[in-house]
């Protein structure tokens, strides 16, 4: 094929992309441009039939070895026969933290890709084993630092399951309310950074404007903007201030129009469409095999949401839709998260409308710190306070898993107790860790620039991956 016909073909595909929609318009420019890899490798149906071995994400050494070992894709031209190793990160602005990728490229096409993680490993799981059960709560904030309330809830649910504690309905509603506000907050950070990676800086500023309002709400309720530690074992830590619900309501009232504002900036933007549509495809079968959860799984057509299918914290009392798409590409994930924000607004409103009166903590004086007022007037409360602070509370032996739907996907806490006041083992399963494993399957055969779009679309936080 001559040089000119290549360019013509390229122009035709580029022009076509914004106008055609759906599965037929998958962008395979990456392959045809380089002309190195047969295009049938990238047909979604073929990608879906990969064996387990093909799907395993390689290590950094594998990628380097493969390239040095004279990987010969085709032909006899000595220059084009060689693949190149490209290092991305850990200080790369669009890798959302300290993710390092080692990429083998053939021209500009991705041949293989290996993530190198652990730069943010702080040994939180080990630290948990040396703390009392209630002291673990602030550590959980720091795992997925974009959704502290969700982390707190997952941990609290696990310990409450071990203790077999009944949580009052008001506390459950408050948990749902703040979990959904956290989801909106996390999705705003995702949208802002994702759009910024692709070159739309304005959206970032718009998103952070709304996020600031949410941060103020979190500060009002917990005293902290980010590391809230608001949800505790046995309930929530504080009764929200009197006018806070009014503030939340006014935020929820204006927020849907703000979502439309973001969509006005992005939805019909030809650059946004051509960068997102058909990029980063993963089939439902591959997504399940690779442990993908959350919005990327639902964007591939698997209708599973922990909130609806295995309800926790009273989610069964709320009515909401779970958006699902069959396209499986970056665009589908974008559409899906925008819908999720709208659903979250509706759940928050239901939580505010239905918020019952009553206690915000379980009736368990040996586990929950007493009121300051009671402590100063009742001997019994003072003793409980002293005991909880100095020696913690014992938790019956056993092992439990709690599972919540975090903004990034399914978040599980596995807590093992040996009957003492300190957890024997705490393990966090975060969606980010397994979603990262699907990165290679999504990126193969695409261009380097697409990697940035795909990382944005799986929405990872390195704090949750490295722990």
């Amino acid at each position: 094929m001559s040089e000119t016909s290549f360019i013509e073909e390229e122009v035709v595909t580029k022009n076509k992309t914004p106008m055609t929609h759906g599965a037929g318009s998958r962008d395979t420019t990456g392959t045809t441009l380089a002309g190195f890899r047969p295009a049938e490798d990238l047909i979604p149906s073929k990608v879906g039939t990969q064996t387990a071995e093909d799907m395993i994400i390689p290590g950094v050494e594998d990628v380097v070895e493969e390239s040095l070992g004279g990987h010969k894709p085709h032909g006899s031209d000595p220059v084009s026969d060689q693949t190149m190793i490209l290092n991305m990160g850990p200080q790369h602005p669009s890798t959302h933290g300290v993710l390092r990728l080692v990429i083998e490229v053939d021209g500009e096409t991705i041949v293989s890709l290996a993530p190198d993680i652990g730069y943010l490993h702080t040994g939180i799981e080990k630290t948990c084993e040396a703390k009392f059960y209630q002291q673990v709560v602030p550590l959980t904030d720091r795992i997925d630092y974009l959704c502290p309330m969700t982390n707190n809830t997952a941990y609290a649910l696990a310990v409450e399951k071990l203790l077999q504690l009944e949580i009052p309905e008001r506390a459950q509603y408050l948990r749902v309310l703040f979990n959904e506000l956290t989801r909106i907050q996390s999705h705003l950070v995702w949208l802002g950074t994702h759009a910024m990676d692709i070159g739309a800086l304005t959206v970032f500023l718009y998103c952070f404007r709304e996020r600031e309002e949410l941060m103020r709400i979190f500060e009002a309720v917990s005293g902290q903007r980010m590391m809230t530690s608001y949800v505790r074992v046995g309930g929530v830590s504080l009764e929200p201030p009197i006018d806070l619900f009014k503030t939340i309501r006014s935020f929820l009232k204006t927020f849907p129009s703000k979502i439309e504002e973001y969509e006005g900036l992005l939805q019909n933007n030809p650059i946004w469409i051509s960068r997102l549509k058909g990029v980063g495809y993963i089939s439902a079968a591959d997504a399940i095999a690779l442990g993908v959860t959350g919005p990327p799984l639902r964007a591939s057509g698997v209708d599973f949401d922990v909130r609806r299918d295995m309800p926790y914290s009273g989610y069964e009392k709320f009515k909401f839709n779970v958006p699902v798409s069959n396209d499986g590409d970056v665009w589908a994930r974008y559409i899906l998260r925008m819908q999720e924000m709208r659903e979250s607004v509706s759940i928050c409103l239901q939580a505010l409308d239905g918020l019952p009166e009553g206690r915000i903590t379980a009736d368990a004086p040996k586990i929950i710190l007493p009121d300051r007022e009671q402590m100063k007037t009742q001997m019994e409360s003072l003793i409980h306070h002293f005991k909880i602070v100095t020696e913690g509370f014992q938790v019956p032996a056993g092992e439990v898993t709690s599972s919540v739907e975090a903004p990034h996907g399914m978040m599980n806490y596995y807590v093992v107790s040996d009957g003492t006041a300190k957890p024997y083992r705490v393990h966090m399963r975060n969606a980010d860790y397994s979603n990262l494993q699907a990165l290679e399957t999504m990126c193969k055969g695409k261009l380097i620039a697409d990697v940035v779009a795909i990382i944005g679309s799986i929405d990872i936080v390195l704090g949750a991956i490295d722990r």
Binding site: A52, E53, M55, I56, I57, P58, G59, E61, D62, I117, G118, H121, G123, E125, K126, T127, E129, A130, K161, L162, L163, Q164, I288, A289, L290, G291, V302, F304, D309, M310, Q394, V395, P396, A397, G398, E399, V400, T401, S403, M410, N412, Y414, V416, S417, G419, Y424, R425, H427, R429, Y433, S434, L436, Q437, D466, R467
Partner: protein, 171 residues
Amino acid sequence: MDPIANPATPEAAFGVEAVKLALADHAASNAAINALEPFMTDAKWDRGELTLTVAPETIVDASNAAKAAGYNFFEDLTAVDWYPTEPRFQVSYSLLSHTFKQRLRVVARVAEGESIASITGVWPAANFYEREVFDLFGVNFTGHPRLTRIMMPDNWNGHPLRKDYPVEGYR
């Protein structure tokens, strides 16, 4: 009754026969129990969670059986160090069924120096999780495509999540 000394909930059941009896009309759990029957050495039903213990050499067969029984999604793999009890490591696999909407924990006990087969052939998602357990506990997974450290630096000494590894590290 003191809940600390007697941790089990009233509906808890321990041992294969007791669990079978307790869950006679629980379809999702029965599917798992029947599928894993040939590999099971122990079973537990506690706090609404089913834990099945299998012999470590049968883990790949057990995983395939669980997958065939509807537990299609691999969620999590981690270990618990029960030092100084032997066998020391409890490797916990967490599986989820999208159809039953039910979770299953498969557990295998591995002694120090022993290894357990990798299940990356059944679920490629296990790749990072096995590397993590290898890195932080020193449990060896045979058949893993490249079992290297994932969190700690490559030249690190020891396995931090072991119970005989001090919380603040060696000085």
